[in-house]
Structures are given as C-alpha cells and as structure tokens.
Symmetry: C3
C-alpha cells in the first residue's frame, strides 16, 4: 500500500517541507533509510542521519532545527515519535487480517465461536469453551475444556491454555506460552516422598494484557492466579500458582514470581529478577534487573540486588565492592601500625 | 458432584459439629469461602476467618480451640491439611477422565499403544514407539521414533519427546517441555569455527517424576541424561546433556544444571540457581535461590550466593554488605588519625 | 550397522593393536563401555578405565602410554577425540533420514518447497513461504507467511517461525523455540497506560547457526534482529528486538540480551548472564555466568559479576567477600583502640 506525504501530513496535521507527492510503502530507521520508506527523527543524537538518509519522508519535531541540506520530504509535527508510532499502528491495522477457519482443526461440538474469528489449521478447542468475536487463534493453539476468551484477543501459534482458564478482551499472547499448568505443589511425606497436591484453581487474565513467548503461568491450587488489566509480560517469565499481579505492571524477560505473592499496580520487575513466595509488593515499585526480593516492599520503592535492598544504598555498596581488596590490605596495614605502637 | 458433611466425615473418620446434611460441590480457601464449598483451617494465623467464612464445611484440627460463633459445619480431624489434600486428590480423581483416540492424529503403524489411553487430536507417535496403559497424550504432543512411555503417565498439550527417550510410569509432564533435544556440544576448530558433536545418547526419566512447563532436558552425547525416581522439576528449568539427578530431588523454577553434573538424592536446587558442568553435588544438599555453584558439594550442605559458599557464612557477609560504604569511610578516617600521629 | 576395527582404522589412518576383525554397532563412554561398542581415550585422567572397559574397540592417542593388560582392540590415532567426533558424525549421517511429506499437513498453495525435504504431519507452511532443498520440518512446526528457509536446515518438532523471518542454510533449531515474536515495545501514555508499538521488522538468522530448545528471539521493531553465521545458542535464551549478534559467538543457557544491543564475533555469553539494552559488546569478549552487563565492553575483555567488571578484579573481591564480617569486626576493634589512645 502506498501513501503520499500529503496524505500522511493531513492525517497527522503536520506541515510539509519538500515534495508532497512523494510516496512510501514501508518504514525504516533513519540511519538505515531506503527510498520509498518513511522514517522519523525525535532524538537530536541522530540529527546527522537527517542529511544522509535515503528515506523518502522523515517526520521531525516542529522545534528541531534543520542545519543542512535534506533530500527527504519533511513532515513537521509536535512529537515525531508519537506520530510515527500512531502511523505504525495505522499501517499494521491496514495489513491483511487472517479470517476464517482453516482445516484440519478440532472444535468440540459444544464450543462456541464468535464472529469474524481466525481459527488456524491444527487448532484444538475443547468442550464448552467459549471464544469471543474477532479472536485470532493461530495454528497449533490448544484451548482446553471450559476456557473463556474475550473479544479481539490474539493467540499466536502454539499457545497452550489449560482447562477452565479465562482470558479477557484485547489480549495478545505469543508462541510457546503456557497458561494454566499445574502449580508446583507437593506435600512432603516421610514414607512416600513428595505427594502431589491437586491444582484445582485456574488462571484469570484481564483485558489488554500482552504476554511474550515461552512464558509459564501456573493455575492456582484453589481460586485464581490473576494478571491485572493492561499488564505486559516479556518472554520466558515464570508466574507461579496463586500469584496476583495488579494493573499496568511490567515484568521483563526471564523474571520469576514465586507462589502466592501479590504484586501491585504500575510496578516494574526488571529482567532476570526473582521474587520469593507469599510476600506483598506495593504499587509503583521498581525491582532492578537480577535482583532477588525476599521481603514485602512498600509502595513507591526502588530495590536492587540479591538480596534486594533500597537501590541507592545498594549502588553505593556496589561501587565500593571492587575496592574490598584495597580495604582488606589497608585494614591489616593499620592493624600492624597500631599493634606496633600499643602492644 | 455433591458430597454431604456426613459422607466426608465418614471417609475421614472425623467428628461433625453442625449440620451433617449440608452439601458441598467445590473447594475454597477459608478467607474466600463461598456457600456450597469445603474449606480447611490448619494454621492458627487464619483462625479469624473461621468466624466469618461463607464456606459450608470447614475441616479443622481436633486440637484447635474454637473461640467464637461458627456458621459452617465443622469436621474435626487429626491433621486438617492432610485430610484436605486427600479429599482434593479424591475429588480430582472423581473428575471425568479423557479417554479414546481423537482425530486427526498420527500413529505410526509400528507403534504400540496400551489400554485405556487418551490420544488427543494432532498427537504424533513415531516409528516403533511404545506407549503404556492408561497414558494420556494431550493434543499436539510429539513422540519421536523408538520412544518408550510407562503406564499412567500424562503428557500435556505440546510436550515434545525426541527419538529414543524413555519415560517411566506415573509421570506428569506439562506443556511446552522438551525432552531429548541435542546437548550443546561443539568442538572448536580454528579453521571451521564450531563443529557439532553428534548427540547420540538419550534421556531417561524414572517413575513418578513431575516436570513443569517449558523445561528443556537435553539428550546425552553418549549414554543417558537421567532424572531419578520421584524428582520434581518446576517450570523453565534447564537440564544439560549427561546430567544425572538422584531420587526425590527438587529443582525450582528457572534453575539450570550444566553438562555432566551429578546431583544426589533429596536435594533442593532453588529458583534461578545455576550449577556448572562436570561437578558432583551430594545427597540432601540445599542450594539457595539465585546461587551459582562452581565446585563439588558434599552431602547435607546448605549453600548460598554467587559464587555459592556455606549459607551461614554467606548470610553474615550479606548482612554487612550494605555497610561497605560505612566501613570504607571509617577505614579512611582511622588511617588519617594514625598517619597524623605516627608519621 | 556393523563396522570392523579394520574398516575404522583404514578410515582414520590409524594403527591397530589387537583383533582387526572385531565388530562394533554403537558407541559408549570408556567408563561405561559395553561389548560391541566403540569408545575413545583422550584424557590421561581416564587411563585406568582402559584396563577395565568392556568396549570392543578404543581409539587412543598415538602418544598415550599403555601400562597394563587391555582387552579391547586399540586403534592409535593422532587425536583420539577428534577422530571419535568424526566417526560420530559419519555414524549419525549413516542413520536413516526422514524424507517425504506426511499427512495431514498444511502447505499453502503459494508456498514453494525444495527437493528431498521432510515435512512432518501437522506442519503448517504459510502463504508465499519458501523452503530450500533437503530441509527437515518435524511435526508441529509452524512457518508463517513470507518466511524463507535455506538448504539443509532442520527445524525440530514445534518450532514456530513468525511471518517474514529468514533462516539461512545448514541451521538446526530445536523444539519449542520461537523466532519472530513481537519485541517488548510499548509507549507509556499517562491516560491510556501502555500503548503497543507495532513490531514491523523481522529476524534474520544466517547460515550454520544452531539454536537450542525453548529459545525466544523477538522480531525487530523496524529492520532486523540478526544472528550471525556460525553462532550457537543454547536452551532458554532470550534475544530481544533489534539485537545483532556477530559470527561464531556462543550464548549459553538462560542468558538474555536486551533490546538493540550489538554483540561482536567470537564472544561467549555464559549461562544466566544478562546484557542490558542499547549497548555494544566488542569481539572476542567473554562474559561470565550470572553476570549482569550494563555498559559497553571493548574487544577481548573478560567480565564477571553483577554488575560485571573486569574478571580479575571481580575474582579478587569475591574471594574476600566472605571475610567482610571479619573485616567489620577488626575495623571496630581498631577504632576502639585508637579512640582510647587519642581522645
């Protein structure tokens, strides 16, 4: 699909410098711009590329000074990054959408499917499951019995949803992610080793949640493991049984939350961090990458390290960590001097 | 399915206080109790919920004092938690069980399938593989050629078992788990970069092993990667080629064991811990969360930290870690005083 | 298939001691040698097994002294390990190879498939995708629309490749790995929470790359996430959007690289290490296990720790870490002595 600079400028309410008739059909980064593509410049650090880019159209901030010869047609807007993101969204919505039911697929006769859905080949939908309108289930998706999925939700190829789990509307779940596997619950028995505690709860994922690839979210022993509205989860994250995560929180890649822990809203759990079970993390908490959290954290705290402490204290200690050998040496020098004089 | 308090009390050999005819059809946590559900109270910390719960029946320890008005019917037993777990197990066994072969599925003509199995749609079973009695293979399970699976084992949707691997009886493997992928074995060649070492061994999983979702267990280069009887493995764990794990050990989420390492029986490897290759961990060893183990560990040790050391020593050092800036400051103050007086 | 010692010695240009007619049909480790198997001895530490092994043939280094009675036929070669690896390769190539198209599978009418391919049952190949010659797609592989795959590449069961991604020749990708899932890109909006940035780029995997199981490689926002020729990636690794990795690098299990970071050639990122986004790691860099890297690293550096610093400095500090309690105690003793004398 082709768009002219004029069409784009009209949509963005932007101001054109250059040829309004030039056309683009794809997007590019400004430093890798190719003819026929649209790019943007928001960060002054990248200004130099404005004068060399081969992109046909560049969105720039209205207040960005232009100090050289520019080949591209410019469209000046208030916030070039936001404008670009909104065009990306428009563009991605304009792409052809999957529709219809491919064969072979397995849809239990008691399952209900909404309007305008895509059901890819080799999709399995179990007994009494209910799929909303405009849902996309890519090939090899597994929906167990009694699962509910809201409108407009997309499950990419190979997502597995165990029986009884509930997914809201406008969710996106990427390939390889497993929702509703059994929690890690065993009663230790002197005679019998570990005895499995049946996991009879489910997972509830609220609206507008995005989950990356190869994530594991375990079902609750009883009740629900719950992911709050608007929360975003990156790849390879572990969410144990009975965890509850509030709204608009972010869990970055390879982080893990142990059983029954409650996490508030607007939190950030950075990459490879771990949080132990049965604790409570407040709202607006930031936990640094590779941290290990083993105690409750109050609202608005920033924590770092393993074990995690207040980030400011941790950073001061870490800066001096590599001086430990110097400190050690000096300490024994001082001791020697003191002993010589006082003994 | 409904059960009366009388039926449950008779089964548990418990003593009823309240209406023996009240019925339940589900279970709940005492703090979230709903009418028509069964709950339990074992931890005195939760006693307050006994007086407010809406659960219809509550199991409690015979020796737990009751200090208020209780709406629920009580069943007094010796150990309320164990009694509840045994009811959960009974309940979960009473649920309808999957049976039969769904279509389309792919079963090689030379494969053998036991009695009373469930083979879900889109399951693949390769040449000369042998599946025991009462096995459940959920949709999208892949069984390569020459695989053996014992009786009563359950593989959830999308488990992949490479050719030649062996799984015991009474195992449970969750979605997304891969058994028998190639070990990470390459010979470095100055001219050719890395040259793959063919991985000709297999994986052997003994009886009564449970493995979570999205776990990776690599086949041995030669011989077998082996998981001992009764061992339990959580989600997203990495087990490299030629690793051997003893009986009744536990590996928690996102931990990883590198190639050829041997781990004893009754060990606990906590979350996000890592163990290097070619070492030996004794029996009854506990390795703390996020630890990094790079040396042999004897029986009965508790280790912590990265690099892991004796947990007691590590904890003492960690407590003082955040005092490093104070120590640093004080050290230089003392040095100043000493230099002033002695130089 | 059976091979005599003579056949093997002729192939390897080795020298026989013992019966040249003895036959083997399998391989074994020398300490687990069984009759009818071929083994090797390269490491003098294992010499004792040479005198007890039941293996029928043992390859040994020409310069290894033999100090006892050996039952096996020996074949002396310059480098027993390399010779053994080349035999393993020969053996693995002699095994029967999968060929042909199993049913049911889904191949879009506009897709093109090369010669001599294996397309397993339940494989999905999307619109306009192009599969080279001698490619093996095991059951449950998903190839989205517009994907390109080079010659001789193997995708094991359940690999998922999103639309528009490109895989080179001679690659091996293990089960559960996801290529081309959306990058974790969201614009924070005060009113609307997180707004998804459409991810319109792809993933490019160059020739001769091997990727383990349950790995996640995200597509670029724009442009390409790129894995260089000959690079090897272990299980459960995270590669975020717009990451670029050079040639012949190695990423060990459970490591993670955040968005837009560039990694050079011949690097080793060890297990469970993490690298933050938007930085540049030079060539020939080694990053130790469980390290956390948050700054650019120049060529040829070895880094360790979280935060990662020069490995030599880190190791010195770590050795003294457990002495912090002693240092703390001594510091306050010295302070007391000084205060007594100088105040």
């Amino acid at each position: 699909m082709n768009f002219t600079a004029k069409t784009i400028a009209d949509f963005l309410k932007g101001e054109i410098t250059g040829d309004p008739a030039v056309q683009v059909s794809d997007v590019s980064k400004i430093e890798e711009g190719r003819p026929g593509t649209l790019s943007f410049l928001a960060n002054p650090k990248y200004e130099k590329y404005l004068y060399s880019t081969q992109a046909s159209i560049v969105l720039i901030n209205r207040d960005m000074p232009v100090n050289g010869q520019v080949k591209a047609t410019l469209i000046k807007v208030d916030d070039a990054y936001k404008a670009f993101a909104s065009l990306l969204e428009l563009y991605s919505k304009s792409l052809p959408q999957k529709r219809g039911i491919e064969q072979p697929s397995f849809i239990h006769q008691t399952a209900s499917i909404g309007n305008d859905c895509y059901i890819g080949a080799f999709v399995y939908i179990g007994e009494k499951s209910s799929i909303g309108n405009n849902v996309k289930l890519y090939p090899h998706v597994y929906i167990g019995d009694g699962v509910q999925i809201g409108n407009n939700t997309i499950l990419y190829s190979g997502v597995k949803v165990y029986q009884g789990c509930q997914l809201g509307s406008d969710c996106i779940i990427h390939s390889g992610t497993v929702i509703g596997s059994d929690g890690f619950g065993f009663a230790q028995d002197e005679q019998l080793g570990f005895k499995k505690i049946p996991q009879l709860g489910n997972v509830v994922i609220e609206d507008d949640v995005e989950i990356g690839s190869n994530v594991s979210i375990d079902r609750a022993t009883m009740g629900s493991t719950r992911i709050g509205k608007g929360t975003k989860i990156d790849n390879l994250v572990q969410i144990a049984h009975n965890v509850e995560i509030g709204e608009n929180s972010v869990l970055i890649s390879q982080s893990g939350i142990a059983g029954s822990t409650k996490i508030g809203k607007n939190c950030v759990i950075a990459a490879q961090a771990g949080v132990v079970g049965h604790i409570r993390i407040g709202d607006n908490v930031i936990i640094g990458a590779q941290s290990g959290v083993s105690n409750d954290i109050k609202d608005n705290q920033i924590c770092l390290g393993s074990p995690a402490i207040d980030a400011h204290t941790q950073k001061k200690a870490l800066v001096l960590f590599k001086k430990i050998p110097d400190m050690y040496k000096k300490l024994y020098e001082l001791e020697k001097i003191i002993k010589e004089h006082f003994k």
